[in-house]
């Protein structure tokens, strides 16, 4: 092994014991450790201290810890429920508020602007409604459209007695 390949003092030694090297890297370094006493000594002392550290005792979780946390969660959960709902809507299901907002914008635009003015069908319809209004006001009658013909039908008084046409000349003096 040449000096340039020597890994002593590099973090590869720690990475090796932490299982953080690729198979190839680990294999190469292990081979090197066999041949290089200084790296091997460094590795062994680091490993020794690491193994002692791994044996440090752990403390147990006090069973009273959860009830203390739990009591603070329930007071939080009432306040947090709405927050979470809003947050959930905005971040987890953003299409819900987005669709609702688009819908509202569409309705507002429709109310403000109305139907497109250059639509021939809607033009014709509004002209028809206008004319009907005028005719109603003049008490002329109602515009009926049937089979492509427009006709005005005089409004009839439904309470007026119907006079039967007899077919006789009403002005002829009767003798």
């Amino acid at each position: 092994m040449t000096d340039t390949e020597c890994r002593a003092g590099t973090n590869a030694l720690t990475a090796l014991m932490d299982n953080e090297l690729s198979r190839e890297e680990a294999f190469a370094l292990e081979n090197h450790l066999r041949d290089c006493p200084s790296c091997r000594q460094e590795y062994e002392s680091l490993l020794y201290a690491y193994q002692l550290t791994c044996r440090m005792p752990e403390i147990e979780v006090d069973p009273s810890l959860w009830p203390q946390i739990r009591s603070k969660l329930s007071s939080e959960s009432m306040i947090g429920r709405w927050k979470r709902f809003i947050h959930g809507l905005l971040f987890d299901r953003p299409w819900v508020p987005a669709t609702a907002a688009l819908g509202i914008v569409a309705v507002v635009l429709f109310l403000l602007v109305g139907p497109p003015p250059d639509n021939p069908a809607s033009k014709e319809f509004s002209a028809f409604v206008q004319q009907r209004e005028i005719l109603f006001k003049r008490d002329q009658g109602v515009l009926f459209r049937s089979g492509g013909f427009n006709r005005y039908e005089p409004r009839r008084n439904p309470f007026m007695r119907q006079v039967q046409y007899t077919g006789q000349n009403p002005f002829r003096s009767r003798r």
Binding site: T10, N11, L13, T14, A15, D18, E20, S45, L46, Y48, A49, Y50, Q51, L52, T53, C54, R55, M56, P57, E58, I59, E60, V61, D62, L65, W66, Q68, I69, R70, K72, L73, S74, E76, S77, G80, R81, R84, H87, G88, F91, D92
Partner: protein, 198 residues
Amino acid sequence: MSLSSSPSGDHLTELVSKAKRGDVDAFQNLYKFFSRKILNYLFRMTGSREESEDLAQDTFIQAYKKLSSLREPLKFQSWLFRIAQNNVYQKHRGRQPLIESIDEHDLTEWSELQQLTTPQMEPEAQALSVELEAVIARAISRLTEKYRTVFVLSAIQRISYQEISGIVNRSLASVKSDIHRARIVVRDKVKEYMSDRH
């Protein structure tokens, strides 16, 4: 003693999504899986049982409140460690960790643990363990916070470098070299102690 095992990916995803909707029982299950890790991480960071319990409590309450901001349920552990780390940083900032002696209950456990692990240790090294533990604890407590964090996460919590890099929000390369440097510092303290003894 039982080390709290991690839940499977599917189970974790399910628990997180239930807890996000306010299911406290699901959150309690998450607590069961992760409280020991978080508590012991905080214990090694602060050196005080009482302080680590307070910080663990804050960590889990904050986690519950902020859970809706967690995008990837599988990263729950890293995310939880990050909250714990922020708590240490904010509430413990600039303070030298205490070195609290562990109580008898923990010592009993440790001797059980010793029987379970690494039989290749020298017998006299095993006999030194209580004192040695204090030496190592002191060495950890004297590391700068930057080194202490990555040291505890890697050597005590055995978290991968990749995950640690996510927790501390630093590059993998810088995490890797900080871990190595911290290990050297602790190794030197152990070495110093051992050479004084013989």
